[in-house]
């Protein structure tokens, strides 16, 4: 146990916590926006994978990390746009649409990678660029906090900023109000003149936008190349974080951090001889438990409501 505490109570561990949380947080914020608009986007994994590859390819051909990031974001948003077009225009079922996106991404990225580099495993032969890390002036000199908070990848800081932006967007702007109203009661929203379809388009595009930032981080920060299936379930963890965070911005951010901690811990817990395979299931187990508790309490509330007037 002591050896475990020795691993956890270090600035290195706290630093790596923020590092592994970044992609989960981005995707969870994306899932949050689309869920609040009443559409479950389960294509997160696929969108992240496509944008991770796009970032590598574009940055390799333009030799600019920033153009690469732009390419990643555009391609991820485009994929979300395709999903939106099919589900909102052609009325494809959103879940099946998400399955299609994931299927497309897991094979399609390998397909394109192979055509460009002749390799099906990773993009080692493409000279892609990495986005910079940032030393925070002043903060980096503070003992303990400095090594934890400073020196992160630029997208890690942007992800924290994104929490504030999403919170503000959902709770303080007209668009946020419309997104929430469409999610809660589309008919009511429609009746007061909100275009449900347009809002859902916007929400899906935004979810793709945030997920693709997470994807770009994976191949241009977390690692410096693209590897096959490199998202490795982070998209699903993000969906789990969103639903355990009860579709609130703060809750989603906190559970993302929690699941990030589980990810970071999986290395630390190996000291205690707990297999990594089992630790990897923790976020999912936690989500199922969280969902059940929530569903049980909701059912009780509902039953009370039904019985209420009769007692009167």
């Amino acid at each position: 146990m002591n050896s475990l505490l020795n691993v956890i109570l270090t600035t290195d561990f706290a630093f790596s916590l923020l590092r592994v949380t970044t992609p989960i947080l981005f995707a969870a914020l994306g899932a949050l926006i689309s869920n609040r608009a009443g559409i479950i986007n389960i294509g997160m994994e696929g969108i992240m994978l496509v944008s991770a590859l796009a970032g590598v390819i574009v940055s390799a051909y333009t030799q600019s990390a920033w153009v690469g990031l732009l390419g990643a974001v555009l391609s991820g948003t485009l994929i979300a746009g395709v999903l939106a077009f099919f589900t909102l225009k052609f009325k494809t079922h959103i879940i099946l649409g998400g399955v299609a996106i994931n299927m497309f991404a897991s094979g399609g990225t390998v397909f394109i990678l192979y055509l460009l580099s002749g390799d099906k495993g990773s993009s080692t032969s493409l000279a892609s660029k990495v986005l910079p890390s940032v030393q925070l002036p002043l903060i980096q000199d503070i003992p303990v906090l400095g090594p934890i908070l400073s020196g992160h990848h630029i997208l890690t800081y942007i992800s924290i900023l994104a929490v504030v932006v999403v919170y503000y967007l959902l709770n303080r702007t007209p668009l946020g109000l419309r997104i929430r109203s469409v999610g809660e009661n589309p008919h009511a929203a429609q009746s007061v003149g909100v275009s449900v379809v347009r809002i859902q388009y916007t929400a899906l595009l935004l979810s793709g936008f945030f997920a693709s930032l997470g994807g770009a981080y994976m191949s241009m920060g977390y690692l410096s190349l693209f590897t096959r299936d490199m998202i490795a379930g982070r998209g699903w963890i993000a969906i789990a974080a969103e639903s355990m965070g009860r579709s609130t911005t703060i809750g989603t951010a906190l559970t993302s951090l929690l699941f990030g901690a589980a990810d970071a811990l999986s290395n630390a817990l190996q000291v205690l001889k707990i297999p990594a395979e089992l630790i990897a299931t923790l976020p999912y187990v936690a989500t199922v438990i969280g969902l059940v508790i929530y569903a049980v309490s909701e059912t009780r509330k509902k039953n009370k409501k039904v019985k209420g007037p009769v007692v009167k």
């Binding site: 225009k89 079922h93 099946l96 299609a100 897991s106 639903s243 999912y284 199922v288 969902l291 569903a295």
Partner: protein, 349 residues
């Protein structure tokens, strides 16, 4: 003259044609000899007995998961848990295939039965959560996929792994546990008979029994079914049990029929493919046979193409995505249906 009642058939055919057209376009863009490559893609899977065998072998697991998902979708349950159950039941069957010693008749039967029952029980969990507390079955089943994968991989790495095999695989199965081949020159195994029997049973269950009727009604409109006096909670749990049983059987049969060691270090994907099969089959048990064969055909075609030409087999996942997007698109070609309806109405007037 096309009739409205053939609309779904026409639409499915149109989707398949569009998907194949996209495949040809991709091949033409990528390949140096597009015509030859397309020829390989379409012709190779049915060119020899061995290749036809490959298609049928590939179709067996797809039929199992396609059937399981069809039943769930039929009850309007968006449960994608067949993936994890398929995998985990494969592990369960492998454990018994490695450690039991029985004769060659009972051994696979016991292993497959155990895998199926475990599958049914695991599948019941999201079912009960949905039926009792209305917990979203989609999210719970997706989470279960990852949980079951983690546990299965743990069992493989820590308890079943054969250190002498130089790869991440389990100990060898007992010879008695393996399913026997039914056609010489192919690897088609007795699992084919098992799955065809299951499909016929599912068909009879769905259309000839009271429970099947309740299942279909619950799928059409759960509230209506409840007001008509059906116990929809029971129906939902039942369909989860059956679907889990079938998916678990699929995983067990696949492992014992095709391999001599357990070797899936990642989810094999058949559960999600099952959703595609079910959609192509319009959630109809008997049509699952055709749609699984079609999917297996284009997959083997893509494999052959990757081996014999310059186009990688991953092209197929793009085609699959197109099929899913279009086939579940209610509005796709709807205008045409409306026009046909209008014409027929005018003709009758």
């Amino acid at each position: 003259m096309f009739k409205v009642k053939y609309f779904e058939v026409i639409r499915t055919a149109a989707v398949i044609l569009i998907a194949l057209a996209i495949a040809f376009i991709i091949i033409s863009l990528v390949s140096d000899q597009p015509l030859k490559t397309i020829g390989i893609f379409l012709w190779e899977p049915i060119s020899t007995k061995g290749h036809i065998g490959n298609v049928i072998e590939m179709a067996i697991p797809l039929m199992f998961t396609g059937l399981a998902v069809s039943l769930l979708f039929r009850a309007n349950m968006f449960n994608l848990g067949a993936e994890g159950i398929f995998y985990f039941s494969g592990v369960v069957a492998s454990v018994l295939a490695i450690h039991l010693s029985l004769n060659s008749w009972f051994h696979p039967v016991v292993a497959i039965a155990a895998g199926s029952i475990v599958g049914a029980l695991l599948s019941a969990i999201p079912g009960i959560l949905k039926a009792k507390w209305n917990a979203n079955e989609l999210v719970t089943s997706l989470m279960f996929n990852n949980i079951l994968f983690g546990i299965g991989l743990y069992l493989l790495n820590y308890h079943l792994r054969d250190a002498k095999a130089f790869a991440n695989v389990s100990y060898k199965f007992q010879e008695t546990a393996r399913l026997s081949k039914i056609f010489t020159g192919t690897r088609i195994h007795t699992g084919l008979i098992v799955v065809l029997v299951m499909i016929v049973l599912a068909h009879l269950f769905l259309y000839r029994t009271k429970w099947g009727y309740e299942l279909r009604m619950t799928g059409v409109n759960r509230d209506f079914a409840r007001y008509s006096g059906m116990k929809t909670a029971k129906v939902i749990i039942l369909v989860h049990l059956i679907a889990g049983f079938i998916a678990g059987m699929g995983g067990s049969v696949e492992v014992l029929g095709m391999y001599n060691r357990f070797q899936w270090a990642s989810l094999p994907g058949y559960g999600l493919d099952g959703a595609l099969v079910a959609m192509l089959a319009k959630n109809n048990p008997l049509s699952v046979i055709g749609s699984a064969l079609f999917l297996a055909y284009i997959r083997i075609g893509a494999d052959m193409m990757a081996r014999l030409s310059d186009v990688p087999s991953e092209m197929i996942s793009i085609i699959q995505a197109v099929i899913i997007l279009l086939i579940s698109a209610e509005q796709f070609l709807k205008f045409w249906k409306n026009r046909m309806l209008l014409k027929e109405a005018k003709a009758n007037a």
